[in-house]
Amino acid sequence: MSDITREAPITRAAKWFDPRSRTINMVGFILNRITALGLTLYLCMHLIVLSQLAQGPGAFDTFLANIHNPIFTFLEVLVVTAGFYHGLNGIRIVLISFGVGVRYQQALLISVLVITVVVSAVFAVHMFSF
């Protein structure tokens, strides 16, 4: 505890990830940032995977066969979860930033979380049975 302006940027940057003694709103905020980081990482990996196409259809099919396992399927479910949560929460934030439904922002957040869980469960069932 000291003057926060003197703290190293990395120390300050890590402070947002602390849900202790906070409300569900803080959990929503943290999830929004984690999903943003996750989706950015996924985008990079996706581009790397697509670069396999440059080595021909055979190499790409072999690569796809190698990653067709439960671990990668679980990771793909996480991408779907992150996409839905981040997208729906983004719509919520846009709405309340325009002054729409600010009083109901927590109910909107809970709705976003419930929809994300339900949609992720449906996707998980389909993806694991594929």
Binding site: K15, N25, S97, Q106
Partner: protein, 257 residues
């Protein structure tokens, strides 16, 4: 007050100067309906006179006794001990976050007060250099003098600043208390305030965590006010885009809520 007595351990944050921080423990026998500040004052009075903390009014008006109690921001003069612990339990008392520590439980809130001045929330009438009298304040929320509204609602306790995850990571952010003050005073009649609010470290730095609203003891609802400021800034920007006159410079004002 009840006849029930609880034995509670107060864990109090201590730090003087450059010394390393630590917690001192004080076992107190308390009435559970006493307030956390009562316990802190008893520690100062009977156990350790070197304990530094801030307090004044004891009835949630001055905003001086804001601290973190068991991790959450509380106005300690109105926080009953039974609300934060149980018989045999612990009350962990720490200073507010996101302010410069003065000593032990006291923090320097000067930056917040300076920012309040920047958005037109002055402690004195700038024209006469006199303290603003309560009877001089307009009754309604629609006013022509934003400076008259200071302290009419927000008690400037700093709990919202401490709870805000963005202030924790971005020290230049104006913060929820200051932005709520700007919303109360109105932003459309003052170009300087408008540009300060409509800036990187103004309303657009907020990430809608609404922790400020959750901890505010005066029901100022800073989260809602920041969103209302955004709405005003967006509306004004659209108006400008389609050739509207510029009230920021002509001085007209939208009624604040």
């Amino acid at each position: 007050m009840s006849a029930i007595r609880w034995t509670v351990t107060f864990q109090v944050f201590r730090k003087k100067g450059e010394q390393a921080s630590h917690f001192d423990e004080f076992k107190l026998e308390v009435d559970p309906d006493e307030y956390v500040l009562d316990g802190v004052e008893r520690i100062w009075a009977f156990h350790d006179h070197s304990l530094v903390y801030r307090h004044a009014c004891h009835h949630s008006t001055c905003g001086a006794c804001g601290m973190r109690v068991n991790g959450a921001e509380k106005l300690t003069c109105i926080t009953p001990i039974r609300d934060v612990t149980q018989d045999g339990g612990v009350v962990r008392v720490e200073p507010l976050r996101n302010f410069t520590l003065v000593s032990d439980l006291a923090v320097d809130m000067g930056v917040m007060y300076k920012h309040m001045d920047l958005v037109g929330q002055h402690p004195v009438n700038l024209d006469t250099n006199e303290a603003i009298q309560p009877e001089a304040r307009p009754a309604g929320p629609t006013v022509d003098r934003p400076d008259y509204l200071r302290l009419s609602d927000c008690i400037e306790c700093g709990l919202c600043v401490s709870a805000c995850p963005i202030t924790a990571s971005s020290p230049d952010y104006l913060g929820p208390a200051v932005l709520a003050g700007a919303q109360q005073g109105g932003i459309l009649g003052d170009a300087q305030v408008f540009h300060l609010v409509d800036s990187e470290d103004g309303v657009w730095r907020c990430h809608s965590a609404f922790e400020c609203t959750a901890v505010c003891p005066s029901f100022v609802d800073p989260g809602w006010r920041i969103m209302d400021l955004r709405r005003q800034v967006i509306a004004e920007s659209f108006r400008q885009l389609f050739g509207g006159s510029n009230p920021k410079e002509t001085g007209s004002k939208e009624a604040s809520k």
